[in-house]
């Protein structure tokens, strides 16, 4: 890398559009991703808060805002089942594909990763811009689907065929939206991998990479290889809906008394609904790790920085991470134990599922042991990062009974499953996201946030999010299925209804608990105290760049001399060694 690569500081100023809207700067794009994703996270959260009313008080008109949703959805404020299903499907879709993934990969990955590897930008800046705007279009398509006749997709975020094939027009929009989102992720992942391989600063070997970069690296590979099958599946389902094919529709279906008109069925016996599930879960299981790995990366950064010591067993963690990524491709069918799977197949997938739990345990343990003999600073990001550990532990552990086929029979598709994966993603990844926001906020804005509001936000969120999800374990144990518009029609559902009501109230309070964050966020951007380049006294390269980093990131090309987390090095005057500092003899 030679000097002229950094000549751009003298560059003529770009126009407003090129600078903030159609920018090719990874930092601007990162912020664009993050802001859009935060919007979608909030939107998806709102959908859920509306659903929670129907769950808590089935068939009772939604007070105050009930009238706003139109006669087709909520006549007299009473939610109709079809609208409930739409909300459920879109909550899942938006949270996963429009919220969390764009946030942790598009947002944090885009902004932080190039800084941490000492690169001036991503390898393909224009491609980077394209992937954001493709994602944006996908998001718009998803949102508009609420306004088409029949409402948004209502076959669940898993869109199981044939239900999704005979569903209303919203499903077509969903598929189109997915094609956009998938394309965006593919372009992004190519960009990430190339950047990490090609643009690392001099001396930054793979085993000197911050764990966050490793997480992004593995995640990118998951996206790259797992998403295309879903794209294929989406294309096939589109054909089924639009071109009259029947990839997922078996012969002789009788829908509401009418034999489903499908021309080809006599000739070939039609399609296979399991095909969709295999293609879908082949993506969607790695997708789970796409949701959690970057979260682990963020948490590791924050913990290393706030324990003021190197993370324990860095290499072990990296190996565990890679192994996790690899294994995640051969566990998908544990979502399908009760689709009529035989003994052999289930044994295989149960085994791989048990195996994949080990590396997660390893990473968690490593992070825990890191706390040992640390000097823990309880900063706001650290609080979120610390909370991540037990929350993720709950989420991970409760995966065990679901991974054991016999135990899965009673628990499958009950609230137990909901509680399980929400513990992984909500107090897990979402807390990691908050940790990341608070941790890198000074770098991005050059200002500090208000720690007091931050702590309020943390404690309220921690309490309420647990009251939301913990009861669901008991509701699930009692055998209540998920995706029920009104569980009180069942004796076992009515018996645990109070727990559902409790969850709802906690959910709404959790919504209120985000107010301090929102206020903090916007006020600190404008009024926050300006800070130095390295307010957290971090060692990784992003803290070497100015805050906020200029176009091209680094004043001078950083050269790396050591591992990522050189804190409290014995027999040395300074408490921490940034990676680019020459060791004093």
């Amino acid at each position: 890398m030679t000097a002229e690569h950094h000549g751009q500081h003298g560059h003529h100023e770009l126009g407003w559009w090129r600078k903030y809207v159609f920018s090719t700067d990874h930092k601007v794009i990162g912020v664009q991703y993050a802001v859009t994703a935060l919007f979608f996270l909030f939107f998806g959260f709102c959908l859920m808060m509306i659903m929670r009313w129907q769950l808590a008080y089935p068939g009772r008109p939604l007070p105050l805002i009930g009238g706003l949703f139109g006669e087709a959805n909520m006549p007299g404020g009473i939610m109709l089942p079809e609208f409930y299903n739409s909300l459920g499907a879109m909550h899942g879709t938006i949270m996963v594909f429009l919220g969390v993934v764009p946030m942790v990969v598009g947002g944090f990955g885009n902004y932080v990763m190039p800084l941490q590897i000492g690169a001036p930008d991503m390898s393909f800046p224009k491609l980077n811009m394209v992937s954001y705007w493709v994602y944006f279009v996908g998001g718009v398509v998803m949102l508009t689907s609420f306004f088409v006749p029949g409402g948004a997709a209502n076959s669940g975020w898993t869109s199981y065929a044939p239900l999704s094939v005979i569903a209303t027009m919203g499903q077509t929009m969903w598929l189109l939206g997915m094609v956009f989102l998938i394309t965006s992720s593919l372009l992004g992942s190519v960009n990430f991998i190339v950047t990490i391989i090609q643009l690392r600063a001099k001396g930054l070997t793979m085993f000197r990479l911050p764990f966050f970069v490793w997480a992004q690296f593995v995640t990118a590979f998951l996206l790259l290889l797992a998403f295309p099958p879903l794209e294929a599946a989406a294309v096939l389902q589109l054909m089924d809906r639009v071109a009259g094919t029947s990839f997922f529709i078996p012969a002789g279906l009788v829908v509401s008394g009418q034999v489903l008109p499908t021309d080809n069925l006599p000739q070939t016996g039609g399609g296979n609904p399991l095909l969709w599930q295999h293609l879908f879960w082949f993506l969607a299981h790695p997708e789970v790790y796409v949701l959690i790995l970057p979260g682990m990366g963020i948490v590791t950064e924050v913990i290393a920085n706030n324990t003021r010591k190197p993370v324990w067993g860095y290499r072990t963690m990296v190996y565990a991470l890679v192994f996790l990524g690899f294994m995640s491709f051969i566990v998908w069918a544990h979502h399908m134990f009760i689709t009529g799977m035989g003994t052999t197949l289930s044994a295989f997938f149960a085994t791989t599922t048990m195996i994949i739990s080990i590396p997660s345990v390893v990473i968690l343990t490593a992070l825990l042991i890191t706390l040992h003999r640390a000097s823990i600073r309880f900063t706001t990001p650290m609080l979120f990062a610390l909370a991540f550990l037990p929350m993720f532990a709950v989420g991970g552990l409760t995966g065990l009974p679901l991974g054991l086929p016999a135990a899965d029979i009673p628990l499958h598709d009950t609230y137990y499953v909901i509680a399980h994966f929400h513990y992984v993603v909500a107090p897990g990844t979402i807390f990691a996201i908050f940790a990341g926001i608070y941790y890198w906020f000074p770098k991005v804005t050059g200002r500090t946030f208000d720690p007091f509001l931050g702590k309020i936000h943390f404690w309220l969120s921690l309490v309420f999010i647990n009251i939301v999800f913990a009861p669901m374990f008991w509701v699930g144990m009692a055998g209540v299925s998920r995706r029920l518009y009104d569980q009180t029609v069942y004796a076992h559902g009515l018996a645990v209804q109070p727990a559902v009501e409790l969850s709802s109230w906690a959910a709404w309070l959790l919504g209120l608990a985000q107010i301090p964050f929102i206020i903090n966020f916007f006020m600190s951007i404008r009024k926050g105290r300006t800070v130095s380049d390295n307010p957290w006294e971090g060692t990784t390269l992003e803290w070497v760049a100015p805050s906020p980093p200029p176009h091209g990131n680094f004043a001078s090309v950083p050269v790396v001399y050591r591992g990522p987390y050189e804190y409290s090095v014995p027999g040395s005057a300074r408490e921490f060694f940034p990676q680019n500092v020459v060791a004093e003899a």
Binding site: T24, L224, G269
Partner: protein, 201 residues
């Protein structure tokens, strides 16, 4: 910042030995493999689970036309390589001719597919909804055709407006043609798989 000012866009990375564009293309192709892989496995699953699979006498796919198209694509691959080679030998004019030839061949492929394969089948009522076989036939070949169209667009770009880059930075231009070539070979390769699977098996 514009791509040119980034390291390793033109010159290969000392350790990995490739320039970023090439690596990116390879990764993109990896995902493409997964895409078509998924579709091929769908083909296998549907065919295995099907009560009856239409034989060659029922599908009426014309092997001669298929073979012709296969040859067309193979030749277009060759011209694509020649284009890159002549750029390497600094013969820009020649390269443009080869690129043009590639585009023409690609168009020939599409036209043959449209007028001698799709349209007659469509008239015969052999539409996607007719049987799982034709559903797969239209989906697979259609997706492949989309890839061909994409290739045509890219090559045409480098042939006309994009060629300005040659004067600014010949090596960079050559690299881009090489990447396009990689993609183009992949598209041909997909067809090499499609042809026997759909026409012969």
């Amino acid at each position: 910042m514009s791509a040119e000012t980034l390291p390793y866009t033109v010159h290969p990375h000392p350790i990995t030995g490739v320039y970023s564009g090439k690596l990116g293309t390879w990764l993109f192709l990896a995902s493409e493999v997964m895409l078509f892989g998924a579709l091929f496995s769908s083909y296998v699953l549907l065919r295995v689970s099907a009560a009856h699979w239409p034989g060659h006498d029922e599908t009426h796919l014309s092997v001669p036309i298929g073979t012709f198209n296969t040859l067309v694509l193979i030749v277009s691959s060759v011209t694509m390589v020649m284009a890159w080679a002549s750029l390497k030998m600094n013969e820009f004019a020649k390269a443009r001719w080869y690129l043009a030839a590639t585009v023409v061949l690609a168009l020939v492929f599409l036209l043959v597919k449209l007028f001698f394969e799709y349209m007659p089948k469509w008239e015969h009522g052999h539409r996607p909804g007719f049987s799982s076989f034709f559903a797969l036939y239209y989906t697979l070949t259609g997706l492949h055709a989309l890839h061909i169209i994409g290739g045509i667009i890219v090559i045409t770009y480098f042939l006309l407006p994009g060629s300005a880059l040659w004067k600014k930075d010949p090596e960079y231009y050559t690299n881009r043609i090489e990447c396009t070539g990689l993609y183009w070979h992949f598209v041909d390769l997909v067809w090499i798989f499609l042809f026997p699977v759909l026409y012969l098996m």
